[in-house]
């Protein structure tokens, strides 16, 4: 184990455990107005009028007319309005904001505002949507010929549901206007995304906007795009009021109206010849919701990952992202990959079972090897350790014996054990790092010898303050307490890119390591020194072309192998997870405790996604599962036996060999979970989450056959 992997006490541990850390809602309210949004209560309608009652002194109402710049939230595209103008496009679409000193009075004003609509027919089913936001295709080999020569052809359709991030701290921001400047601070994953959006909506220059991250209570992607929207709204209210305005979402507001994981439908057609998969023809549809937000890149990752970890010589993938009049879906840990990985793992398992081969044996025979081409004609440039990992994991959990044992069962309780593989393409998809992000990171050395890390990287619980500081301290041979690192403030830090895509340690961490190496080489005692590093694409990368979808979509990959063992109660449909294990290669762990914590947390989120996390959108386009009571996330009692193993394949371009980590565990776990469930049920399963009710009805169906 590299010495850097040895765990340290996290830099932010003390204030958090003592309850002293100030999150967005914890800053003093003196002089700050409460801001609350007026939202559409229908899915699709023409907005005819908004009648605001006479406001008491000190209260303001702001809508699109008050947006000083363009009424646009700049995300990737520019279709999300700050406030609705002519139409509302989903139930919850913001129409305006009320701000004032007393929260109860703000609520009263909101309840008295009369909105007149002319209802329009909403589109709630992506299959019937005529608005396709994005449509991508890519192909390798000769798919038609492979199907013409196939022994067998399999066709199956898989569906995945919504998933709610469930961060314990809801979205919340404060906007503070002052002389010629507007400051926004709060629960933020990507300060410069918020900064760019504010500049456009306020119509101001770079220096007129400042964005600061407060201590943030979890993100998981849910605070990647959404704070840009909320920031523009709160800023408009603050400018109109001429006072600071804070908006803290209630749990119900956060769950019903902020982004989620895209529900999906994936249709797989697979050719098999001589016991091997020779071709896949895949059609993917993601439900984008009402605005594009992050759907473009989410879909890109989904289609790139559609063949899973397998080398499929003839591959055709088409993916579309359809507009519906529902809450816009956005970034969520895994970012489009968990949906297609689930489908790829299940179709491989189903074909294996049909051919009379154990699913794991069949999967192992198809995994990509070092040097193989990727789905987009790139290359796996570095070792692919999946077979070693499955060997380790199956031995550890006694997979083969259990798998055999559970093939013959009787009685009320039935068990199963399942296995899945996954990868996470580390960093931005395609040429994003090179062409869009262009990360810059800096180190500032002070005369007293302390060194400050300056990046836009945010700490959301994933340990970034600690891992960044460890990298710099090691390179400089300094003790950790000589390194200064704070939550980002756009007035002070360069744009090192968003804290997303499991890119921060691998990409920004390496820029910091290089800056530290230069500082060390040119260190002058007693002087202030500053070194900056800019991202450069590694030489080995086959440049990705977004038009043709060809090239290296990612420079390297993190790898995962998962095993889940469970028992179902065939009388009640209840699931009991007997064990859940993952073996992960994320390169060199920069801190073993941090990495294990990330893997365990993601693993449990993945188990929630597979089974218990049901989010229902009704026929009005209303998210009904809008509370922790209605949307069940795993508790400490649900998966008592969970284990993580770490395998290390060092990545030469990452700091000390590190690769991306945070998203990996959730990508693959549904495949293992559902495989275990299928063995227990003795039937194939085609969707997640697979609830108790689903289990019971499937069991009944199997028994009556």
């Amino acid at each position: 184990m590299d010495s850097i992997s040895k765990s340290v006490v996290k830099l932010d541990h003390g204030p958090k455990v003592r309850g002293e850390a100030l999150y967005a809602p914890d800053h003093p309210m003196e002089g700050v107005l409460h801001g609350k949004l007026l939202r559409s209560d229908r899915a699709y309608a023409r907005l005819l009028s908004v009648q605001v009652p006479e406001l008491p002194e000190g209260y303001v109402f702001a809508d699109w007319r008050d947006v000083p710049g363009e009424n646009v939230v700049l995300l990737i595209l520019e279709d999300t309005p700050v406030f609705a103008t002519d139409t509302v496009e989903f139930l919850g679409d913001p129409i305006g904001i009320v701000a004032g000193p007393n929260e109860a009075v703000v609520d009263q004003i909101l309840s008295k505002i009369q909105v007149e609509y002319e209802d329009l027919p909403p589109v709630l089913d992506p299959e019937t949507s005529e608005t396709i936001f994005f449509d991508y295709s890519h192909q390798q080999g000769d798919v038609d010929q492979a199907f013409a020569q196939a022994d067998r052809i399999y066709e199956e359709t898989f569906r995945t549901g919504y998933q709610e991030h469930g961060y314990l701290e809801t979205n919340g921001l404060t906007a503070i206007p002052s002389d010629g400047k507007l400051t926004v601070h709060g629960s933020i994953q990507c300060p410069y995304y918020v900064h760019k959006a504010l500049k456009k909506a306020l119509g101001v220059e770079h220096e007129a906007v400042q964005v600061i991250q407060d201590v943030t209570g979890g993100g998981f992607g849910g605070k990647e795009d959404y704070p840009s929207i909320l920031a523009c709204q709160v800023a408009v209210a603050a400018l109109k009021a001429g006072r600071p305005v804070r908006t803290i979402y209630s749990r119900r507001e956060d769950m019903a109206y902020t982004s989620k994981r895209h529900p999906s439908r994936s249709r797989y057609k697979v050719a098999v010849k001589d016991g091997r998969v020779t071709a896949m023809d895949i059609d993917i549809l993601y439900n984008a919701g009402a605005y594009t937000t992050m759907s473009m890149v989410v879909l890109q990752r989904g289609v790139i990952c559609a063949n899973g970890v397998y080398h499929i010589p003839n591959l055709r993938v088409r993916g579309r992202s359809a507009k519906t009049n529902t809450v816009p879906n956005g970034a969520f840990r895994g970012f489009g990959a968990p949906q297609t990985f689930f489908s790829a793992e299940m179709i491989m398992a189903h074909i294996a079972t049909d051919l009379g081969i154990d699913p794991l044996t069949f999967k192992e025979a198809h995994v990509a090897r070092h040097g193989d081409p990727t789905s987009t004609g790139g290359k796996y440039h570095f070792p692919v350790p999946l077979l070693e990992m499955s060997e380790k994991l199956t031995r550890e959990v006694d997979y083969w014996n259990k798998r055999k044992e559970y093939d013959t069962q009787s009685g009320r309780y039935r068990r199963g054990i399942g296995f899945s593989f996954s990868f996470h393409g580390a960093g931005f998809t395609g040429s994003g790092e090179r062409d869009i992000i262009k990360a810059v990171a800096a180190l500032q050395k002070y005369p007293d010898g302390k060194v400050e890390i300056l990046t836009a990287g945010t700490e959301m619980g994933q340990g970034l303050l600690t891992t960044f500081a460890k990298i710099v301290a090691k390179e400089l041979h300094l003790p950790l307490n000589q390194i200064i690192i704070a939550l980002p403030d756009t007035d002070r830090v360069p744009d090192s890119g968003p804290t997303v895509a499991s890119r921060s340690v691998m990409v920004v961490g390496e820029l910091l390591r290089r800056a530290a190496a230069r500082l060390k080489a040119e260190w002058v005692d007693g002087e202030a020194q500053r070194f900056e590093e800019k991202f450069q694409e590694p030489d080995f990368v086959i440049p990705f072309n977004i038009e043709t979808f060809q090239g290296d979509a990612y420079p390297t990959y993190s790898w995962g192998a998962h095993c889940v063992e469970l028992e179902i109660d065939t009388f009640t449909g209840e699931h009991k997870v007997l064990g859940a294990w993952g073996c992960y290669d994320v390169g060199t762990p920069i801190d073993m405790t941090v990495i294990v914590g990330q893997m365990e947390g993601g693993l449990l989120q993945g188990i929630g996604y597979s089974h218990m996390e049901q989010m229902v959108c009704d026929r009005r386009g209303c998210i009904r599962s809008n509370s922790y009571s209605d949307y069940t996330m795993p508790t400490s009692a649900d998966v008592p036996n969970m284990g993580v193993m770490i395998h290390v394949e060092e990545y030469p371009e990452g700091p000390y060999g590190a690769k991306g980590a945070g998203e990996l565990p959730i990508v693959g776990i549904p495949g293992a979970y559902i495989s275990a469930l299928e063995q227990a049920l003795g039937a194939d399963v085609h969707h997640i989450p697979f609830s108790m009710e689903d289990t019971l009805s499937k069991w009944t169906e199997v028994q009556t056959l």
């Binding site: 996290k10 932010d12 309850g19 449990l604 996330m633 508790t635 008592p640 969970m642």
Partner: protein, 155 residues
């Protein structure tokens, strides 16, 4: 009405409505911002406090219920020796990620160890199951409480 209670060892007489919620009063009027609001309906445990030795979600407690009671929040508990042990074991196992659930988790652990100084892993899991954490997967938290118990943490 005037409601007498003890907050973190200090006797207090609070003037307000008996239907106000303990969580809101603690945060807004006593600067106990370590008591977090996660869900507002008694599901997540982020607002856990100790009321007369019992673990409660302060978002579900009306001020009238607090009459003559003793309330301990993280702000009070962090001054105890028992806290020092939990602080250390939480640090060692990496039980704190985003930290939003942490003060509530510490309070729930303290309540458990008060009534059961040597809990089994299953008993720890059960006792903390009213406190949601979305980051850790819970293993590190369970290990931290287990370690604290073994090191003699007696709140």
């Amino acid at each position: 009405m005037s409601i007498p209670f003890t907050l973190n060892g200090t006797p207090i007489t609070w003037d307000g409505s008996a239907t106000d919620r303990l969580l809101d009063v603690l945060r807004a009027e006593f600067t106990c911002t370590g008591v977090k609001c996660g869900c507002n309906e008694g599901e997540c445990g982020a607002c856990s406090v100790i009321l007369d030795g019992q673990l409660v979600n302060s978002c579900m407690v009306a001020m009238g219920r607090v009459w003559d009671s003793e309330i301990t929040t993280i702000e009070g508990f962090r001054e105890t020796e028992a806290f020092q042990i939990l602080d250390r074991t939480f640090a060692e196992t990496g039980a704190v990620q985003c930290g939003f659930c942490t003060p509530g988790m510490i309070i729930a652990a303290a309540c458990l160890l008060q009534r059961n100084p040597s809990p089994t892993a299953a008993e720890i899991r059960e006792a903390l199951s009213g406190n949601l954490c979305r980051c850790t997967g819970y293993n590190a938290i369970i290990s931290a409480v287990d370690r604290a118990a073994k090191e003699g943490c007696r709140p």
